[in-house]
């Protein structure tokens, strides 16, 4: 098993330790806004345990995926709200 995994976040490659979550990868990519709220506010993870839904991003085309509860897999394509 590889020690590191490489995914893309908004098109740019990010390498993380194996087992790291997508939320960690997005932070490593220097991105602070994970999603925009209904009134356009920037939002990022709050609870870290899958109940607040603030960490939702689009993974491999699937929207509203909680990044704090998703482990990175090689080649994953992650998109955050602008």
């Amino acid at each position: 098993m590889a020690d590191a995994v490489t995914i893309t976040v908004n098109g740019a490659p990010v390498t993380v330790p194996a087992g790291a979550t997508v939320a960690a990868a997005v932070a490593l990519a220097g991105i602070h806004t994970f999603r925009r709220s209904v009134s356009g506010e920037p939002r990022a993870p709050l609870c870290g345990m899958g109940i607040c839904f603030e960490c939702c991003v689009t993974i491999d085309g699937r929207e509203h995926v909680r990044s704090c509860q998703t482990s990175c897999a090689e080649g994953m394509e992650v998109r955050t709200d602008a």
Partner: protein
């Protein structure tokens, strides 16, 4: 995954769930333990960089050795029939049936809103710890830890061990309440040791009692936090605010099953039986009480569910001691009234639907608020705003309906009564 049947099904693989599954399986029952996370441990025993905390390891090893079925990354979303739960995982939907069910669904943090709390990098205390354990880089970052409870010390200690610059710990409880609590510690020697260990590892970090955040500010993300202590208000710059005001039991599944829920949590008898036949509850969901109490309750529930009440009874004395400690903790870290003024009328309470306090204040209760403002109608189903509104306005959570969390339409269709799962 196909539908499966078990003698004993444990929901939640934190301390209570792991202890329950071990004791149930040791007694010969066909046991499964399920968790929404890919790895066992729950919150307090969450693995960091692939390694479980030392306290968790013997339980996880025993669970493996006893042949307990481990069902990871799966969530219960409905209870379509007695003895049956509807579950969703990445592959889809399936059912599990049981003779006895042990609920060990743990707790979540209570968030109290204040201006700026929705900024990126304002997180729960346990929330930031969970994210760092999952790979969030924190070395060299300035952190303020705030809110209430022993969790703040554990989080500060952990973040420091990951080379974060923990600037200060702001505990809302007044000093005299903590002094009273500390005076009672010698009655619980392991807790006294733990406290001494915290003091040692947090040497040099400012620990302020009677102190709480009143605002967070920044452009697009957190840049500074304003704190209050007595008559003094000041602002400190920081990269992350780890802020949680205590813990709330995760009782939604228990409520869905019809278990009686009291003010502290799910009501249980001395053998951890709920008011619903064949349904047990253990750990934080019966009342916030810490890891030692959770393990004791889990063991009792596991023995009891497996038909070994005598082995369960041998743990009553230890459980009583842990409950005394838990009661002292609850008294010491009670939320002070001033915290009810942190949220202003324009402060968002519901983050899913962006509803400010002012609009909610105009409503007569939960139903009114849901209908008129959509507060509580978003994906979190009131789990974040509910804790705040219970403290701010005394609003109690209403009856729970399935699905317990947002699920795929395909999963809902799969559980229509009388229909074959496709």
């Amino acid at each position: 995954m196909t539908d499966r049947a078990f003698d004993i099904l444990v929901i939640g693989a934190g301390p209570a769930g792991l202890a329950a599954a071990c004791r149930a399986a040791e007694s010969g029952a066909k046991t499964a333990v399920m968790d929404e996370n890919p790895r066992p441990g729950g919150q307090i025993w969450r693995a960091s960089a692939g390694r479980l905390p030392v306290a968790a390891q013997p339980w996880v090893v025993t669970v493996g050795k006893q042949g307990v079925e481990w069902i990871p990354a799966a969530r219960v979303f409905a209870a379509p029939a007695p003895g049956r739960l509807a579950i969703e995982n990445a592959e889809g939907e399936f059912s599990l049936t049981y003779r006895s069910l042990i609920l060990a669904t743990g707790a979540r943090e209570r968030f109290l809103p204040f201006p700026g709390w929705t900024l990126p990098n304002v997180m729960g205390a346990g929330g930031l710890q969970a994210l760092v354990k999952s790979g969030l880089p924190i070395g060299g970052k300035k952190i303020i830890v705030a809110g209430t409870g022993p969790l703040l010390l554990a989080v500060a200690q952990y973040l420091r061990s990951r080379r974060a610059d923990v600037r200060l710990i702001a505990e809302q409880a007044p000093r005299r309440a903590l002094a009273r609590f500390a005076a009672g510690l010698p009655r619980h020697p392991e807790k006294l040791m733990q406290t001494a260990q915290f003091a040692w590892s947090l040497f040099g970090v400012k620990f302020l009692t009677g102190c709480w955040p009143v605002a967070a500010a920044g452009e697009g993300k957190l840049e500074s936090v304003t704190l209050r202590r007595g008559g003094r208000t000041w602002t400190e710059s920081c990269d992350y605010l780890a802020c949680g005001f205590g813990l709330i039991p995760t009782t939604e599944l228990a409520a869905l099953l019809g278990c009686r829920i009291g003010t502290a949590g799910v009501e249980v008898d001395e053998l951890q039986r709920s008011s619903v036949e064949d349904v047990y509850a253990a750990g934080e969901i019966t009342g916030i009480g810490g890891v030692d109490l959770a393990v004791a309750e889990g063991e009792i529930a596991g023995f009891a569910a497996a038909g070994q009440p005598d082995r369960a009874r041998r743990l009553f004395h230890a459980r009583a001691a842990h409950r005394r400690f838990a009661a002292a903790m609850t008294r010491a870290f009670a939320l002070r009234e001033e915290l009810k003024t942190l949220a202003h009328p324009e402060t968002l309470i519901c983050r899913c639907e962006d509803v400010p306090l002012g609009r909610i204040h105009a409503c007569s209760g939960w139903r009114d608020a849901k209908l008129h403002t959509r507060c509580g109608m978003g994906p979190c189903q009131g789990r974040v705003c509910g804790g705040a509104l219970e403290f701010l306005l005394g609003w109690k959570a209403e009856s729970v309906r399935p699905p317990l969390l947002p699920v795929k339409v395909a999963s809902l269709i799969g559980t229509e009564p009388g229909e074959e799962a496709s």
